[in-house]
Structures are given as C-alpha cells and as structure tokens.
C-alpha cells in the first residue's frame, strides 16, 4: 500500500520547514540538498513525487581562508621536498630510497624518480598513520601492535607491546559481524573441518560446491531478485563483470566519484566512458540526452546499450545515491542501471537490503545489483543479482567465473550465517536489532559531530562519516592524537581526495555502544579543539536528546 503523493510532498516540505520545538524554541536548521561547485550550499526542495523519505545531506564548502592555507602548506612541503632531494643528491642527508647503481647510469632508468617524490617527501613523514598491524579481530574494539621508528618512518620496529582496547572507527564493520565468537564463527569452523579452506578451482570447473549454490539462492531471496551469483573477490566483481556486460559500441555513464574497481571495469570493457558530476541528476540527464540525440561519435549510429554506473553509498564522500531519480531517468531514456551496493548492502534499509529498500523501490527496476560481502557480513567477495537470463549469461561469460578460484567454504558459511541472521531466518531478532542500532548510532554520531562544529560530508543516514581536516599537517596529527587517546581512525588525503579536502573517515558500526560513541565524541571534540578542526560556519543548536525511532524522519517533530 503506497502513500498518497500529497502525504509524501507534505513530509518533504516539513523536513525543510521550521517548526517550533517542544518548548517553543525555533531551531535553526540547514538542509543542504544539492552540492554545487560554483555556489555555496543552499536550500533545495526535494522532489516529493519520487522520494518516500527526506533526503538530507550536507557538503559545506571549504572556507576560502582554509583553502589558501592548505595550498600554502602543500607549497611549503613541496619546497622542502626539493630541498631534501638536493641534500640526498649531495650526500648531506642519508638516502633510504632505491637508487640506480653507478654502473647502470647510462642505461634506461629502472626507477621513475619523480613519481616517487610524493611518497618519499610527503607520505613517508606521516605513513605511521596507515597500515598499522592489528592483533585482534577488528570489532568495535581492537588491539594494535605497537611500533616505533628511529629514522622518521623509513623503517619501523616492533616494541613488543600491544595497544589494547582501541575503539575502532576505521573498519567497515557496519553490522558488527567481524567476530571470532558466536554463531557465524562456529558455523565457519564446522564447515572448515568438512570442506577445507579452499577449493583451488573455478566455479566453472571443480570449484563449485553445493554451499555456493545455496549461498546464491539465499542472496537472490535476500535481494528479492530472480537469481544471483557470488564471486570470491569484491574488487573483481566490478572489474571482471563490467567487461562481460558492455563492449565496443556501448556507452558507460559513470559517476565522477565511483570506486576504482568500477573505473577499471569500465575501462577494461572497451566502451566509451563519460563521467557525470557526483550525484548530479541534471548532469546525468544531459549526458543521456546527448548520447541519444547524437549517437556514437563520427558515425552517429545509436549506441548498442547505455549503462549507468552508480554506488549506493560512496565510501569517500559518505553520500547516498539519488536512486529514485536515477531510476526515473533510466526508464525515461531506456538505459541500463548497474548499482554497486558494496557499502550500502546491510547498512541501509530497515531490513538491511540496501539502498533499494531504503528508498522503498522495486528491485526489478535495477538491472544489475552488485554488492560485496566484505563490509556488513564480515566476509570476503561480492555478488551480482538480477534476472535469471543475466545471471546465466554471466556464469559463462564472466571473467571471474571462468578464471578465478571460487570462494572459500568457510567464507561462504560466514556469509550464509550472517545473512540468515539479518533476514531473521535464524529465529532471532539479532540481525534486525543490529540494523536498527547501526541507524541509531549513525544519526546520533553525525548529529553530535555537526553540533560540535565540524564539517561533515554526506547523507544523514550514511554510516560513512567523512570529517574535514583540510591541511596536510593535520592529517598525521589527527591520526596520532586520536591513537594516543585509544581511538583508531582512518585519515585520507591528496591524491586520494581533492587537494583541499583531506579528511578523517569514521565508519559507524552496530557493535559500537553508546558509551563507546560518547567516549569517541569527547575525544574528537578535544582533539578538534587542539588542532582547530571545527571549521563549520553553520552552527547547529543542540537538539533535545530523544530516542531514535525508525519512523521519525523530521528532526524537530514534536
């Protein structure tokens, strides 16, 4: 039973309006529904006809002073980089980099010296913030191996000690299934005894087990599609299957912030690739219309097929795809839609079925449903779901199915057990309550960070929470200061992000308790004051704390 359009419109308008609070106080709300490069954030009404719930996201623009200081920071680092290179060349400073041997001076060089400039002069100074070895399961808390460096991070030494009980805000452990105890671990252990740890063959040959078939049926019923197929590697699900779907004479429309696996798959397919602005439906529609009007270059014949590549949740931006609008455009222009739910499966929707369920849409409107098991299910690999003829085609044409070894049996069992838990087929409400807790933790964490004055990107319901750091020196400083206070975070900078948008990326998990989140928020506020990270110019008044209710969409509902 669908709601009337009037009700939807009313919901959307209420989300944008200003209502008196419970005690009569009028809260100052900012809903930034559209990100425009050329303008500051502004209000835009969402289309009530397409959306069944408010779509609230924020992308506050970089303050100009911060941008200028960030460029100056990179400029200074570059100058010092050249100075260091000069000192290494003249033996003033010890050289740790790989060098050409003197006898091979006149040969073609083996090393591209300039391509290493960034790594040896900028990244090396702060690389202790990345690739830290851990020595426990990455759940809500984990243990880190302590290491030290005597030569400014060129080499590390283990001290033999362990940093214990670090709050984990860096793992994609959305539903908390990264566990070494419980029913999932037990089932995986039993299957390991029975089937072993690997199959050493492909799905097309000896590597097909009945557990794989059972998993694929379960995935299809979970996604509510006709058929599904599982792959042993998540990245390869995109990069090896898009070449099987599109080829010469096809057009691929790719979001500008798509993951490298999608980009690689699009490139390997040999199709023409055009990029639209991130989550910008006007940009996508313009490309679709131009593609149909003008056809292929030079010959102007129609494209064989047009494939739109989008992701459910963008892992660096925290934004959620505007799927109702994408589906409307796909139907209008008769294109195909490839939806990568690597992060959103399990993390969105009341039943954890991803962004399609989150918006209340029909799974059959999405032609190719892709996702991974590496995040919410605590396993590895990916899947593609869709119509039976599509999946049957992929079984014989997918590069992964023909050449890659199939998924390991304990991994299959971990997925089966966690998916049944999410669907409630194990007879408990553990899965449902985890999904609920993830949504509650997400909204709470984002609201508190915004109230503190940090610039947070992304959709309000996205468990990926990018927090802007901007300046290169603060990337390493933030990571180190947080670890000093026993919180593990992921920091990201240029060239993985735009040059003025370095950030810390928090990943919320259902395994986090409110005490853990409060502890983390207190520490983030403390470090934020220490490093002056509270850049936001849109102060949000603290709202009255109330329990999260799944049916409550308006922030200021009485």
């Amino acid at each position: 039973m669908t709601e009337s359009a009037g009700t939807k419109t009313e919901d959307c308008h209420a989300a944008n309006g200003v209502k008196p609070g419970r005690n009569g106080m009028v809260k100052n709300h900012h809903h930034h529904l559209q990100y425009q490069k050329q303008e500051k954030v502004y209000h835009a009404a969402c289309n009530g006809e397409l959306y069944s719930r408010p779509f609230i996201e924020s992308f506050e623009e970089t303050p100009m002073l911060v941008a200028v200081l960030t460029y100056m920071g990179y400029g200074i680092l570059t100058i010092f980089g050249y100075l260091r290179d000069f000192m290494r060349e003249w033996k003033i400073e010890k050289c740790h980099i790989a060098r050409e041997r003197e006898e091979q001076k006149d040969f073609v060089p083996l090393y591209q010296d300039f391509e290493n400039f960034y790594t040896r002069n900028l990244y090396m100074r702060i690389r202790d913030s990345w690739n830290r070895p851990i020595c426990s399961v990455p759940g809500a808390k984990f243990d880190l191996v302590e290491r030290s460096s005597n030569d400014y991070n060129w080499t590390f030494e283990y001290t033999g000690r362990v940093v214990k009980d670090v709050i984990n805000l860096g793992s994609y452990n959305y539903l908390g299934f990264a566990e070494n105890t419980g029913s999932c671990a037990t089932a995986a252990g039993e299957v390991t005894v029975k089937f072993g740890v690997g199959v050493a063959s492909t799905r097309q040959e000896m590597g097909n087990l009945d557990r794989h078939e059972k998993l694929e049926k379960l995935v299809a019923s979970f996604l509510r599609v006709e058929s599904a197929m599982a792959f042993g590697m998540g990245f390869a699900t995109n990069s090896m299957n898009i070449p099987a779907l599109a080829g010469k004479g096809c057009l691929i429309l790719s979001d500008e912030l798509n993951h490298a696996s999608l980009v690689l798959g699009a490139r390997l397919s040999g199709s023409t690739i055009r990029v639209f602005k991130h989550n910008n439906m006007q940009s996508l529609e313009k490309l679709l219309r131009d593609a149909i009007v003008h056809g292929q270059p030079r010959t102007h014949r129609p494209w064989k097929k047009i494939l739109i590549l989008v992701e459910g949740i963008y892992s660096m931006e925290g934004s959620i795809i505007r799927l109702p609008e994408v589906i409307a455009l796909k139907k209008k222009y008769k294109a195909y839609l490839y939806l990568d739910e690597a992060h959103s499966i399990g993390a969105l929707g009341p039943g954890g079925r991803g962004v399609v369920e989150y918006f209340g849409l029909d799974p059959r409107d999405v032609d190719i449903m892709m996702g991974t098991f590496t995040k919410s299910f605590g396993a590895a690999g990916g899947y593609i779901g869709g119509r039976k003829d599509l999946i049957d085609y992929l079984r014989t044409h997918s590069h992964s199915a023909v050449y890659a070894s199939s998924m390991s049996a304990p991994v299959v069992e971990q997925i089966i057990t966690s998916m049944k838990c999410i669907m409630g087929e194990d007879g408990t409400t553990i899965g449902r309550s985890r999904i609920q807790r993830l949504a509650e933790n997400t909204v709470y964490f984002r609201r508190r960070l915004r109230e503190m004055g940090f610039i947070i990107y992304g959709n309000n319901d996205s468990p990926v929470v990018p927090m802007m750091l901007y300046m290169p020196a603060k990337i390493g400083a933030f990571g180190r200061e947080m670890l000093k206070r026993n919180i593990g975070v992921v920091v990201v900078g240029f060239p993985a992000t735009p040059i003025i948008e370095s950030r810390a990326r928090f990943c919320i998990s259902a395994a986090h308790s409110k005490e853990m989140l409060d502890r983390a928020l207190d520490v983030i506020s403390e470090v934020g004051d220490l490093l002056q990270l509270k850049y936001s110019r849109h102060k949000v008044l603290p709202s009255l704390d109330r329990p999260f209710d799944e049916t409550t969409y308006e922030e200021n509902e009485e």
Binding site: M64, T70, E115, Y118, W130, P495, A496, I499
Partner: protein, 153 residues
C-alpha cells in the same frame, strides 16, 4: 593519502588547478613575492618589478612546462610520464577556465612591470623575453609539441 590503493581519479594533477581557492593562493603568492623583494634595500622599484616578473615566469616555466609526469604513481601505466603539468591540466582540453587564467596572469604581471619600469628599454627586453618563455609553450598549437626536441624525454 593512501598511496597505491584504489582510486577513481586517474591523474589528480588534472584537477588541482580547478580547486577552490587555487587562483587566490596563486595571486597571494605572487603578491607576497613582490612584497618580499620590495623589502630588500638596494633594489629600486623598477628592478623589483622586473625581478618579480622574471622570478614568477621562471617558476611558472619550471613547474608547468619543464617538469613532466606526476610526483605520485598513477594507474594510467605511465601515460602522463611524458606530459608537462600544463599538458595534464583538465585532461588536455584547451580553453578551460584554468588555462585562460594561467595564460592571462603572466600578461597582467607583464603589463604592471612595464608600467612601473616606465617602459625602459633594458627592462622591456628582459620582461618581454621572460613573458614569451611562458606564453609560447601555452599555445594550443604547441600542445605536446617539442621544438628541437626540447624536453622531449
């Protein structure tokens, strides 16, 4: 700063000059250089303007037209290795906003330097030669062209 991991932008160099605030930072940088040179005694105002113009153009020549490739590894299998930074800008598309800005800015600086040197012949020759050294490589006709093999490999 995850060097070497999956990333959707093939060459981040293409977008740096389009970021918010880069033009302002560039203008402030040139202004700061000029103020620093003005602070040096023994240098008269015309000499300072000529020095500002020459140093700015030399820096622009080095960083935009002499240095090739990227300071980080890119997943394009070395395609950008033989391109100067100017040729990597905006995926090689000509007449974009950034290209127009960086083409016009040395001309404006040249006008200012000529004015403040009172069109002295010696300063004029130096400033004009310096301007041409950064203007000629920016011409669309010379995209990817290496005259006499200059900076070819």
């Amino acid at each position: 700063m995850n060097v070497g991991v999956a990333h959707s932008e093939v060459n981040p160099n293409t977008r740096v000059m389009n970021s918010r605030g880069i033009w302002l930072t560039y203008a402030l940088g040139v202004g700061m250089l000029h103020i620093v040179l003005l602070s040096i005694p023994f240098f008269s105002v015309p000499v300072v303007w000529t020095l500002t113009n020459v140093i700015h153009n030399f820096g622009m020549y080095v960083f935009m037209h002499a240095v090739k490739g990227t300071p980080f590894e890119t997943p394009d299998q070395g395609k950008a290795r033989l391109l100067t930074h100017w040729e990597q800008l905006d995926y090689g598309v000509q007449f974009t906003s950034s290209r127009k800005f960086f083409t016009i800015s040395p001309i404006i600086l040249y006008f200012l330097a000529s004015f403040y040197t009172k069109y002295d012949t010696a300063h004029f020759v130096i400033n004009t030669a310096s301007l041409l050294s950064v203007l000629i490589p920016k011409l669309p006709q010379l995209h990817g062209v290496r005259i006499f093999g200059i900076n070819k490999y």
